[in-house]
């Protein structure tokens, strides 16, 4: 490159004494940077604006109209929102999503914590290295495939019922996904299965950063595994727990793939969630306004759940 520079730029040549020249080029470069930086950002901003921000704005706009996707679209104000909160079919979906949080977040995080702290001591063994790969498989495969596998496991002749019969619990066997009382928990179990491995490994990775001297000190002070867990492990993992909760809460509230495959929202509306209801309202019932109002509520609900979690864990960790 230095060679290229000596093949003289007349402007530089005329710029007189050395310091002045340096200042001049620096000023030019800075101005140059101001708009080149924007050129670097532009493609990403355009893609984001056209395919995310614009549709998002339109979702809000559609939510104030009644529209079947083809004909006229009268302004209806907040009527669509009124329906979302009063029509039990619609408000029920939000309730179901909230119930799913118990399974999608509660089970993976609590069980993940328990498992991770039990396997903490053998985290570097060959078994644990193999487990790391195996536990990640549910994260890698399409959720649709997980749904098909589980709908078969939970069917009336599936493995779950086979195991229950084997231990003498014939009485409780049923088509888990087809029963009004058990369909939602059964869907929750599938979600827990998908997320448990991820949470366990995230928490385990966090635990490996805790100073082992803390544990030794606790042992010397006579603390048992439980005391150790609540006094050292949990407080040190605030950030990781925050991440697990965030990821799993979003997965619960915005669930779609699994439920579309295993129950289609049924039986009745017992497993209907906002994501699937938006799909039905918009593309089957052709109630674009109602679908959009529910979509806005969903987006706000996700933000409303995630922001406080983020704030809590950020503050504690910094």
């Amino acid at each position: 490159m230095p060679v290229g520079r000596t093949t003289l730029d007349p402007a530089v040549e005329l710029a007189g004494s050395q310091p002045e020249r340096v200042r001049a080029t620096r000023r030019v470069r800075r101005r140059d940077q101001w708009w080149t930086a924007w050129l670097f950002v532009a493609p990403a901003v355009v893609a984001y604006a056209v395919f995310v921000l614009l549709p998002l704005a339109r979702t809000v706009q559609y939510s104030f109209y009644e529209w079947d996707g083809i004909g006229a679209s009268p302004w209806v104000g907040f009527d669509n929102y009124g329906r979302v909160f009063t029509d039990p079919e619609l408000s029920g979906t939000i309730l179901n999503a909230v119930k799913l949080i118990v399974f999608f977040s509660g089970i993976p995080v609590l069980l993940g914590l328990a498992i991770a702290s039990t396997i903490r001591r053998i985290a570097t063994s060959r078994l644990a290295v193999a487990a790391r790969v195996v536990l990640f498989v549910p994260q890698v495969i399409p959720l649709v495939a997980a749904g098909i596998a589980w709908s078969w496991l939970l069917s009336s002749t599936g493995l779950v019922n086979q195991l229950l019969s084997a231990i003498g619990l014939d009485g409780v066997t049923r088509a888990w996904l087809g029963d009004f009382a058990t369909a939602l928990p059964a869907v929750g179990v599938i979600g827990a299965w998908v997320l448990l491995g991820l949470c366990t490994l995230l928490l385990l990775a966090g635990m490996s950063k805790i100073d082992p001297a803390l544990y030794e000190a606790a042992r010397i002070d006579g603390a048992g595994p439980f005391r150790e867990f609540f006094s050292i492990t949990v407080p040190s993992l605030r950030q990781e727990i925050g991440v697990c909760v965030t990821v799993t809460v979003i997965a619960a509230l915005a669930s779609f793939d699994i439920i579309y495959i295993v129950t289609q929202g049924g039986p009745g509306n017992t497993t209907m969630v906002p994501g699937l209801e938006i799909y039905y309202q918009a593309f089957v019932q052709r109630q674009v306004g109602v679908a959009s109002a529910l979509a806005v509520v969903l987006v706000v609900l996700v933000l409303g759940c995630v922001l406080p979690i983020q704030r809590l864990t950020r503050e504690e960790s910094s």
Binding site: T118, I122, L127, L298
Partner: protein, 274 residues
């Protein structure tokens, strides 16, 4: 010592149990796929005569060859472009320190938690008006936009940690911004970019909602979207459906096993940052 050893054993036991629970659904899929087509096998039961031909039948019935091509085309359309423009934007926001970078960054961060369902309805009408319904572009273009929040967030995190001296050295050598980006910063960012590539590949390959809403023809969808259609068509033939599901999840599984170290690292970092 004795306590520690006992804890190690309970640890192993838990770990094995957890692995079994993780693997069982796949074993069940596999065993069921070997039963005669059209039967309803009970639970986990090894068939008297395993029908390996079910896989071939499912391969044919699902037009697996076409599906693979389609998914590969979609991935090729989404991932390289997303990587390039997300890296450029991350570079500008994280390294060039331009005016207004906070605002731009905030704009992207707000999109991080956005559920796809939140925009799917207008997206359908928008794609229709663009005349792209039922083409692969209907999946490719929106996905590029939808990946920007995470992509920019991820790449910014990398570029913020790059010391400014590196750029200054290149600047003294007379490199302009693009040359500095392309010759100095992109090579240095390879680990971050390749992790992002893995995540974007997975999210594209497994994308379901966009595929079923925007593309009617299963042969132009992603693998996951096509499996949805396959279930609708063959849902009553359990062994065939199981064989088809295994075939659909096989490619990601194989790629995962080959690059498992990178994958695990990328997924762990990915969720930590996201």
């Amino acid at each position: 010592m004795i306590i520690a050893r006992r804890e190690a054993w309970t640890g192993r036991l838990f770990l094995v149990l957890l692995m079994v629970v993780t693997v069982v659904p796949f074993v069940s899929l596999f065993v069921t796929a070997l039963h005669p087509s059209g039967t309803y096998p009970a639970g986990l039961e090894w068939p008297s005569q395993p029908r390996w031909s079910n896989f071939a039948t499912a391969f044919e019935a699902a037009h697996m060859g076409e599906l693979l091509t389609s998914s590969v085309l979609i991935v090729l359309g989404v991932v390289p472009v997303s990587l390039l423009i997300a890296t450029m934007a991350g570079f500008a926001v994280g390294h060039l320190r331009m005016a207004g970078r906070r605002l731009v960054f905030l704009l992207f961060v707000l999109g991080l938690t956005l559920p796809f369902e939140g925009i799917i309805t207008p997206l359908y009408y928008q794609i229709r008006d663009m005349g792209l319904l039922n083409t692969r572009w209907a999946i490719i273009l929106p996905l590029i936009g939808l990946f920007m929040p995470f992509g920019v967030f991820w790449m910014r995190a990398h570029f913020v940690s790059v010391p400014g001296e590196i750029s200054e050295a290149a600047e003294i050598d007379g490199a302009n911004t693009w040359q500095r980006f392309w010759r100095v910063h992109v090579p240095l960012a390879t680990p971050a970019i390749s992790s992002l590539a893995i995540l974007l590949f997975l999210w594209t390959w497994n994308q379901f909602l966009l595929a079923i809403v925007l593309v009617d023809d299963p042969a132009k969808r992603t693998m996951a979207g096509a499996l949805g259609a396959f279930q609708g068509q063959w849902g009553t033939d359990i062994p065939l459906l199981c064989a088809g599901s295994l075939l659909v999840l096989a490619p990601t599984l194989v790629i995962f096993l080959i690059f498992q170290r990178r994958f695990v690292a990328a997924l762990l970092q990915g969720s930590l940052k996201g």
